[in-house]
Symmetry: C2
Subunit: 420 residues, 2 copies
Amino acid sequence: METVIIKGNIISAPEFGKLEITENGYLIAEDGKIKGTYQKLPQEYENAFIEDYGDALVMQSFSDMHLHAPQYPMLGIGMDRPLLEWLNTYTFPTEARFADKDFARTTYHRLAGELAAKGTTRVCMFSSIHREATLILMEELENAGITGYVGKVNMDRNGGENYLETTEESISETVRWLEECHFEHIKPMITPRFTPSCSKELMQELGKIAKEKNLPIQSHLSENTSELDLVKSLHPDCTQYWESYQKYGLWNDKTLMAHCVWSDETERKAIKEAGVWAVHCAASNENLVSGYAPVRVMMNEGLNVVLGSDIAGGDHLSMFKNITAAIRASKARRIMDDRKTEFLSVIEAFYLGTSAAAPFFGEKPGFAPGNALHAIVVEDRTLPVVRPLSIRERLERCIYRREHGCVLAVFSEGKKIYKK
Amino acid sequence: METVIIKGNIISAPEFGKLEITENGYLIAEDGKIKGTYQKLPQEYENAFIEDYGDALVMQSFSDMHLHAPQYPMLGIGMDRPLLEWLNTYTFPTEARFADKDFARTTYHRLAGELAAKGTTRVCMFSSIHREATLILMEELENAGITGYVGKVNMDRNGGENYLETTEESISETVRWLEECHFEHIKPMITPRFTPSCSKELMQELGKIAKEKNLPIQSHLSENTSELDLVKSLHPDCTQYWESYQKYGLWNDKTLMAHCVWSDETERKAIKEAGVWAVHCAASNENLVSGYAPVRVMMNEGLNVVLGSDIAGGDHLSMFKNITAAIRASKARRIMDDRKTEFLSVIEAFYLGTSAAAPFFGEKPGFAPGNALHAIVVEDRTLPVVRPLSIRERLERCIYRREHGCVLAVFSEGKKIYKK
């Protein structure tokens, strides 16, 4: 039995809007699974090795539930362009480069390392249309200790130059890719890019594969208003966008839908009833002027809401930054809603970036016993202070402001995957 | 004659929305003043020493036109609180600490160093009510090579516990402080905190001092709606907020007014006619849910608009981050305005964070000959690329995304004040 004992100020979010704090406590895992959080070291561990981080903060690591791996090298470029121009000028040509396996290897190695160093230990990620690059991405993530799901993208219409599959290729490459997936912690996910990129035949086939192999699904939903119009023209039989997924079996409680900016009451009800997961990508929605998702309303209505960096529509990989982006977006939404909706508190947004995704991975929120150990250690002693701060204030400040090198260690699935 | 020759990719913003780029060029200054930007080294400098930064970007440094120095140690704390609670719980107790000169010395030394390292070489800054701490702040900025203005804050009503002056103290301490200012590059500025904090007698006296000594003025204007109501109740004779400054001689072309979020057409006209400077503090206005200033409309109407970090309502000192905050705020404003106003492009926002403030300091926009040399050198070669990027794209990406240690050097008033 392998035991990991982490000593520090233990912080977790067991519920939306709640923090559990154990000052100078112990977080103990056995064989990769959390045993518990303790104020005093249980006697049985008296002689065990303790990773003592002193006064540092030991918090849950992050889940980034929507990002495009092949857009990583274009982070922070083209932010002035409208969505379609951005896709055609920057995104599709960038993704097309991943036909080159060496380029994919170098880029994905770096991406995986940066995710680990920033404390993102769980992902649901779009790859490109390329089977081989997708396997390389999965291998690099696995080697870096990241866990979660990756999808080879399917798109047989409305692509870019040198960046499109035939329907047959898309299906056969997906089938072959699924056969070739053999990773322990990175699993495959069915990934139709979004309704405008996929013919009905392709959607139908992907729905079948997802059902047969019991695979989770990820795509995009109601990101901006021109997209809504386009989907309506492509699927005149669908009253709403979500129905274009539902009718092909791509709409269930293992489905992630990125954005949901323009999801009205009816669409939100459909999301809730199916148990679909809405992935809020605040930074991306701001950058591409898509709008502000009604996250507070979704939470009140009981929808599953998680966060995504959505690089490279989003401009930062760090989930600290994406948590503050979600707070800001909720404040914009509050202003737009004539101050009728509350903004997200720091603690609520921290929950969305950490615990909210736990059930998607079959776990409980917070550092619940039985969960795999996913944690980061953050130090803030180099930041100036005017008076002693509470642990809660220190967490809040770390979310807004950190110094370079503040992440001392990252644990994923019980293993230390990053050390300063 | 002291000559500085900087070689690299020279980037400046000579006009709102325009960039001037000299790839592999030379930026030359003599005795601290810019002589010119050259594609080829003029013959007369053939034997001169060249600071060769290779392929790095050499761009204008930043002007932070509104920030509260004594709020520096509370950066990133209390962002969930409404303005008044935030002031009373965090801000006033923090500012009150600067009665302690040692605390002021340590904190301001660090602040000045961080400003220099982040490429902010010009500031207009609020200190606290303390004369001595204000002099310490000015000295630390001067020593760090930062230039601009600092104001001892005046407030004789509505302060916090241990944080208020009598009217007489406020005036006599201001007079004494002005006598004791003796810095070369950091000059004093008259600083009534804002109308609710200053009695009529105090405002009147400050207006007189500003006029007699020909000093610039800084304060706050129309930040949030409850503040507007409060000002109306305090000055029933004033139809609008700005009149409460105007009637005491605190409203002219050397006046900076932070925020102007709720400035309507009439107030904007008054700003324009007086030549007052509107300081846009996008991050702060988002964090405190104040609203989104109509920056695009202000620019169209020909107002002077500059940027401020407004720490610690703003959560970051870096002007790179405050430039992206201004872009985001303009995108929020576009959404709120039913897409009738354009958002700020990256290049437009870069202008606001650099050149826009030049005339306030008696200079021309861009790297104009005769301007004092204020520049930073930024390297981006460690960022991943998918294809060769243009200099403009590289600038855009640096604004959104930089790596730790990317600032290689900072020049202020012709001197190198920071080196990696």
